[in-house]
């Protein structure tokens, strides 16, 4: 057990020495100071578990000493010693953060209880800090993997917006990782010790969404046998993440707008207004401005939620992120499945780079997961990736440049030739040097 330390600050020698003896018998390391200046010097020998501070001292008074001590050690547990005549000053000391005060002379039982409570409170506060740090570590979100300039920009925006309490709309195609961005904002915000409550507005019918968001009282509707808290109430102190905000009905839009304006609401079937302090983050794959133009989405709600907007780029617009993401998923599933696959073969890399990824990062993760299931190792092989069939099935929905087509074709032929450049060059009808130049230009590997 670590030694407990106490600092006794009192101008009366008899008080200092008797308390010193008392606390030494209690196993404390005791330091004493006869005035404020000596107390501040003694702080160098701290930190102290408890500081017993006399209010009335010549020179620097106890209140001033308390303020100065707090500047040195903001977590100091200060107990004020005072005479009955100066109780008013003791109250002032309490307002400044003193733990408690005792009037001289104090009953030994009261002093023992006070010291015991102060130590327990301090221990709990320290434990609380440790646990919060631990929770922070454990609740660390899945990292956003990306080396491209566009993802660097997204990460920078996350850092910027996390410090504020503004509403955020995260836009991007399906599978780009919008919820991951929302969780990253929450994890870096001051609300991180409170919950992030996610609701997928698009997947829940309107009748259920209302109950899901606002909760309901017992008997609010058939089947409502118990009172149930809604997601808005559960998000109190934290963040409410509404995915697919572009899909909610006009009626829900009105309800949501009211909550956002007042941060108050009533449960379904209830009369009591409930307050909830939450930060709203929305996500959508739809063009909200267009929905506003079409009068499908309320303009006032749009401006309320669209304080800050983050666009998550599709994977095809940041091909330099494909391989880092692939390696991340390989490691993730190798750990989860206990497989000895730790790398991606050059052929698999070429195939991954050649694919268009219409389903974005989610599709990439699924492809890697499936390849990891069937793969034997030691590296992830192109044959295990379910890409070719998928690309064929998906067709080519958009007009593509010649360079993109050439890149895909070169990667495919190289893969078919198991990375043999001579053979691939022969199939393509070009010489090896030309093929090497193309591989370099398109960032392809053998």
């Amino acid at each position: 057990m670590t030694e407990r330390c106490i600092l006794i600050v009192d101008d009366e020698l008899s008080v200092r020495s008797s308390l010193e003896e008392w606390f030494r018998e209690d196993g404390f390391r005791v330091e004493t100071a006869e005035d404020g200046q000596a107390a501040l010097r003694a702080m160098d020998r701290g930190p102290f578990d408890i500081i017993l501070l006399d209010l009335k001292m010549p020179g620097m008074d106890g209140i001033t000493v308390q303020k100065r001590v707090r500047e040195i050690d903001p977590a100091a547990t200060i107990i004020i010693l005072t005479a009955y005549a100066s109780v008013q000053t003791a109250v002032e000391a309490l307002k400044l953060g003193a733990f408690d005060y005792v009037t001289k002379p104090v009953d030994p039982d009261d002093l023992s209880n006070l010291v015991r409570n102060a130590l327990q409170t301090r221990a709990l506060a320290e434990e609380n800090v440790r646990l919060k740090e631990k929770v922070s570590e454990l609740a660390a979100i899945a990292p956003i993997v990306g080396v491209s300039a566009r993802m660097e920009h997204v990460l920078e925006m996350i850092r910027t917006v996390a410090e504020t309490d503004s509403s955020v709309v995260i836009r991007g195609e399906s599978g780009t990782g919008k919820e991951l961005v929302a969780r990253a904002i929450h994890a870096q915000s001051r609300r991180r010790y409170f919950p992030l409550v996610a609701v997928n507005s698009g997947s829940i019918p309107e009748s259920l969404l209302e109950s899901e968001l606002f909760g309901h009282e017992k008997g609010a509707y058939t089947g409502a046998q118990y009172r149930r808290k809604g997601k808005i109430e559960l998000a109190n102190g934290g963040t409410l993440f509404l995915d697919e905000i572009g899909d909610i009905t006009p009626k829900m839009q009105i309800g949501l707008l009211r909550v956002l304006e007042t941060h108050r609401f009533t449960r379904l079937g209830g009369n009591q207004e409930i307050a909830s302090d939450f930060r709203l983050i929305c996500a959508t794959h739809k063009n909200l401005e267009k929905l506003v133009e079409e009068e499908v989405f309320r303009e006032d709600l749009f401006y309320r939620i669209n304080v800050f907007s983050i666009q998550v780029p599709p994977l095809r617009e940041r091909p330099e992120d494909i391989l880092p993401l692939s390696r991340f998923f390989v490691e993730k599933y190798a750990r989860a499945m206990g497989k000895p696959i730790r790398a991606v073969s050059p052929e698999a890399e070429a195939a991954l780079l050649a694919h268009r990824w219409p389903g974005n990062v989610r599709e990439l993760e699924n492809a890697i997961e499936r390849a990891m299931v069937v793969g034997k190792g030691p590296a992830l092989d192109a044959r295990d990736l379910p890409l070719a069939a998928q690309s064929d099935a998906a067709g080519e929905p958009q007009a593509r440049s010649l360079a993109a087509l050439e890149k895909d074709h070169v990667a495919r032929v190289l893969r078919d030739c198991s990375g043999n450049v001579t053979q691939a060059a022969k199939v393509l009808g070009i010489d090896r040097a030309t093929l090497y130049n193309k591989l370099k230009r398109y960032g392809l590997r053998r």
Partner: protein, 179 residues
């Protein structure tokens, strides 16, 4: 040779329960124990504003009556003791030092409006004497509720704890060369 312990009755003759007290202390301390009546003048230790005796001054006066420099002296006084800041103390000791003092004033049942009970008084006095002597031999308060070194701010707490050292405190004393 173990350090001799002198039990000094102050401000009065040796009480009738002295043998019981010595026996109780001797159950814990194997040291040679001698009791005597010490002619200590407590008048200078009395503080009229509090109507109590200053424990530190009593202890200082007592130490002048210590028979030899190598012994421990424990004064037993019938008066109410205090130290500044605190309303009262059951006793006081010099940690790892030569002297200690115990007041029987608040150990008596009469103080709490109950009938006189010498058995209870002796039991409490043994615990407090062993406790203060424990301090004089270098022990600090112990968290174990049954250990005699457990801190007692009320007479109820004195009654609850035992009269002997716990294993931990014994090992600490042995580490200090206690036999």
């Amino acid at each position: 040779m173990a350090v001799p312990i002198h039990l000094a009755y102050v401000d009065g003759p040796t009480p009738g329960w002295s043998d019981a007290l010595i026996a109780g202390v001797a159950d814990v301390f194997p040291n040679p124990i001698r009791a005597f009546s010490a002619p200590v003048d407590l008048t200078p230790c009395f503080v009229p504003s509090r109507q109590q005796h200053h424990a530190t001054l009593v202890l200082a006066a007592l130490l002048r009556h210590r028979p030899d420099a190598s012994s421990k002296i424990l004064g037993i006084v019938p008066v109410d003791l205090f130290i500044p800041v605190l309303t009262f103390v059951f006793g006081q000791a010099q940690l790892d030092g030569p002297g200690a003092v115990v007041s029987t004033y608040r150990l008596r049942s009469e103080f709490y409006g109950l009938a006189e009970d010498e058995g209870v008084l002796v039991e409490r006095a043994i615990k407090e004497c062993v406790h203060e002597l424990g301090h004089a031999f270098g022990l600090v308060h112990c968290d174990f509720y049954d250990c005699v070194m457990h801190a007692s701010s009320t007479v109820d707490e004195v009654d609850v704890k035992g009269a002997a050292f716990c294993g931990h405190c014994v090992s600490v004393l042995e580490g200090k060369g206690w036999e």
